[in-house]
Amino acid sequence: MDIDLSAPHSMGTTIIGVTYNGGVVLGADSRTSTGMYVANRASDKITQLTDNVYICRSGSAADSQVISDYVRYFLHQHTIQLGQPATVKVAANLVRLLSYQNKNMLQMGVIVGGWDKYEGGQIYSVPLGGTILKQPFAIGGSGSTYLYGFFDQAWKEGMSKDEAEVCKMLIFVPDICSVNMFWQKILFLCYHTITSQIMSYVLSRWQLL
């Protein structure tokens, strides 16, 4: 088994986004692989686009990082021009436009999640090719194949935050690409519905042996 260190840096990944009563929960593993070698065992696949919108990245590391940077830049300008925080729909559509119009050259599948005052917590899936799908929950990355069955059985509408935390356990589900993960980052975007302010966002790191 030869380790091909010149293979493009890609992420064998599991990414999850779930809506619940009051916001969204995003989760991702932390392994970046180059062929069979783990190039980074502590990578951060949940990237911030704005204060209220985050993106879970999978696929080519370079492509998803560059697209996130462009979208962050466009959203920043958009926020200034609009005079209020950007909506999740706008953020997701910016990702989709870049992904679709450059589909020949890009290889990335992402989940855009966030909260805005108009629609509340939303999850948008933008897979390979540049489709955009608004979903109550979304899974992505090569490890997601093992989660379709679980979600089919376990997910239901209108979960509370604690129930949505079941998302935590999902990342513990072993799969070929993210087995023996050391760190997972679970990002909770909690928005207090009364004041519409960001009350807290909690990042927790879970160590697995």
């Binding site: 380790i3 260190l5 010149s6 493009p8 840096h9 970046t32 180059t34 070698y37 190039a39 980074n40 502590a42 990578s43 080519s60 590391a61 370079a62 990082q65 560059v66 050259m105």
Partner: protein
């Protein structure tokens, strides 16, 4: 009768005047290259560094390390090359991959950083170098084969990043790249901890590079170390020399005249043939 004969120089000048200036890559020689390949000539390979480069963050800043062997396939092209490149007084960058690519890309970004310093009046930041590198490498879609470990200390603190040829970057407390990266990473994973002192950090970096030097065929020769802290950078060139040349001829390597038999001699004097035109217009201001 005065016959005008078109010489080579005139023909080339005529073509040059007719051809419009074109941008982009000139494919004129591709047919000739293909023909040469069919004939059996081998194109020269590019020199890859086959390297071990490492970086780690310690309590006061960042330490970078590199080996010093540059390879051209199975041959060692340079036994003591410099793989730790200067980017800014407070930022250095180790390069693995194609030697020309790492050299060129670090030089280019170093110049861009200098211009940026003049424009802003401030010390360069590591994230600036990072963004310049990643956008250049991404736009070349991986064809610029430069895998870099970028480290430095700026006003926001110590930073260590890895940059891959396709343009992705990672931010890490310790990093290794190059063909010897697995050997070096093994050392880091077992011995690294947060808050190392300067001496402990240098020792660990040297150990990691030595691990690459001895266990990877693409890395070898000496250990270079660079210690960057707030306000001070120390470039320890050849910090360790674990591969000294042990078998040296005691008689020396002087070959005096008379030692080698001369079979034949042919001397061709070089004639300087500069024909200045007879009448020259004086240069006018």
């Amino acid at each position: 009768m005065h016959v005008i004969v078109e010489g080579d120089r005139e023909r080339m000048a005529r073509f040059a005047a007719d051809a419009p200036t074109r941008g982009g890559f000139s494919f004129d020689l591709c047919q000739r290259n293909e023909m040469l390949l069919k004939k059996g000539t081998q194109l020269p390979t590019f020199r890859k560094t086959g390297t071990t480069i490492v970086g780690l963050v310690f309590e006061d800043g960042v330490i970078l390390g590199a080996d010093t062997r540059a390879t051209e396939g199975p041959i060692v092209a340079d036994k003591n090359c410099e793989k730790i490149h200067y980017m800014a007084p407070n930022i250095y960058c180790c390069g693995a991959g194609t030697a020309a690519d790492t050299e060129a890309v670090t030089d280019m970004v170093s110049s861009q950083l200098q211009l940026h310093r003049y424009a802003t009046g401030r010390e360069s930041r590591v994230v600036t170098a990072l963004t310049l590198l990643k956008s250049h490498l991404f736009s070349y879609q991986g064809h610029v084969s430069a895998a870099l470990v970028l480290g430095g200390v700026d006003i926001t603190g110590p930073h260590l990043h890895t940059v891959y040829p396709h343009g992705s970057t990672d931010t890490l407390p310790f990093a290794t790249m190059g063909s010897g990266s697995l050997a070096a990473m093994a050392v880091f994973e077992s011995k690294f901890r947060e808050g190392l002192t300067r001496d402990e950090g240098i020792k660990l970096v040297s150990e990691a590079i030595c691990s690459g030097i001895f266990n990877d065929l693409g890395s070898g020769s000496n250990v270079d170390v660079c210690v960057i802290t707030r306000g001070q950078t120390e470039y320890l060139r050849n910090h360790q020399l674990p591969n000294p040349r042990t078998y040296v001829s005691s008689r020396g390597y002087n070959f005096l005249k008379g030692h080698t038999e001369v079979l034949s001699t042919k001397i061709t004097p070089l004639k300087s043939k500069v024909e200045a035109p007879a009448e020259v217009d004086a240069m006018e201001e």
